[in-house]
Amino acid sequence: MSSAGPDHPLTPAVFHILLALSSGERHGYAIMKQVEADSQGKVTMGPGTLYGSLKRMLDAGLVRESDRRADPEMDDQRRIYYQITGVGAQALAAELERYQRIVAIAHERRLIPSAFSHVP
C-alpha cells in the first residue's frame, strides 16, 4: 500500500468522504448515505459539514467535480458528482496505514477486545 500522502492526519469528515468516494464518484446526498453506511450509522454529517469539507478538499485537490448528470435511482434532477483524485487516493491510503499501525499497537498491548483477536 502506498505510503505517500499528507503528513498530518485527516479529519474524520474528510476521511469518511474519501472512503465513500473510493468506490466511485457520487453526488452530495449519495456521499452522505455512503458515509452513514460505512460507519454503520455512527457517523452522520449535515450539508454544512459535508460541503464545508468538500470545499477544502476541492481546494486541496483531494477531490474534483466530475460531471453534472441525473441519478437514475432518484429523480431526473441533474446533480454535480464528485470523484476522488490521485492525491486524494494517496491521502486515504496514508490514513489507512496510520490506522493499521495503531491497530497493530493496540493488538500488541492486548487492548483489542477478544472478538477481534484473530485480526493480525
Partner: protein, 198 residues
C-alpha cells in the same frame, strides 16, 4: 402536521445566501439539492421527527456559514485586527468617561463618599461595547472594501446586504446605547454635586 417542502426550501435558500459569495456560487446549488433529498427521504420514511431533523440541518448549515466566514480571515490578520479594534475601543471609552469622573471627584469631594468604581466600569463597558461593534463597520465602509476582514461579521459580504445582520447589530447597539444613556441620566445629579442624589 403538513410538511411544506417549498416553504422549508425557501427558508433554506435564504440561509444559504449567508455563505460567502465564492462558496455559494460553487456549492450552493449542490447544498440545496442535498437538502431537498434529505428532506424528502425523511418525509417518505415515517414523517416522524421531521421538524427536529430540519432544525438540525439548519443548525449544521448555520455553523458551516460561520466557519466559512471565519476561514476568510487569516489567523494572524484576525488577531492583529482584534487587538487593534479592542485597544482603540477601550481607549476611546476611557477618554469619554474621564469628564464624568472629573465631575464626580470635584463635585462630590465634600461628601466623603467612596468613588463609584462599579458605576464607571458600567459606563465604560457600555461605551466599549458600542465602539467594538461600530468601529469595524465604520472602517470597512470607509475603506470601501466589502471583502476586507476587520474582525467584522461582514467578512465576505456587506453588513447592509443581509437584513438579519442589520437587525442583530442594531439591537445590540440600541441595548448598549440605552444602557449608557440611562446611567448618565440617572447619575447626572450626582455628577453635578447634588447632595443625596441616589
Amino acid at each position: 402536521m403538513s410538511h411544506n417542502l417549498d416553504a422549508v426550501r425557501r427558508l433554506y435558500i435564504k440561509l444559504l445566501s449567508l455563505y460567502p459569495p465564492a462558496f455559494r456560487e460553487r456549492l450552493g446549488e449542490s447544498m440545496q439539492q442535498t437538502f431537498d433529498d434529505l428532506y424528502r427521504e425523511r418525509i417518505s420514511q415515517s414523517g416522524q421527527g421531521v421538524t427536529r431533523f430540519v432544525a438540525w440541518l439548519f443548525l449544521d448549515t448555520a455553523v458551516g456559514i460561520i466557519q466559512e466566514h471565519l476561514r476568510l480571515i487569516s489567523p494572524g490578520e484576525l488577531m492583529r485586527a482584534l487587538l487593534k479594534i479592542t485597544g482603540l475601543s477601550a481607549l476611546i471609552s476611557v477618554l469619554f468617561i474621564v469628564p464624568f469622573a472629573i465631575m464626580e471627584i470635584f463635585n462630590r469631594r465634600e461628601f466623603n463618599e467612596g468613588f463609584p468604581y462599579m458605576l464607571f466600569f458600567a459606563l465604560w463597558f457600555n461605551l466599549f461595547a458600542i465602539l467594538l461593534i461600530l468601529l469595524p463597520i465604520l472602517r470597512s465602509r470607509r475603506a470601501g472594501n466589502q471583502a476586507t476582514a476587520d474582525a467584522a461579521p461582514a467578512a465576505g459580504g456587506s453588513l447592509f446586504t443581509h437584513p438579519l445582520k442589520l437587525v442583530i447589530v442594531g439591537f445590540l447597539l440600541f441595548t448598549f446605547a440605552a444602557g449608557w444613556t440611562s446611567l448618565v441620566i440617572d447619575q447626572w445629579p450626582c455628577f453635578i454635586g447634588v447632595p443625596v442624589c441616589d
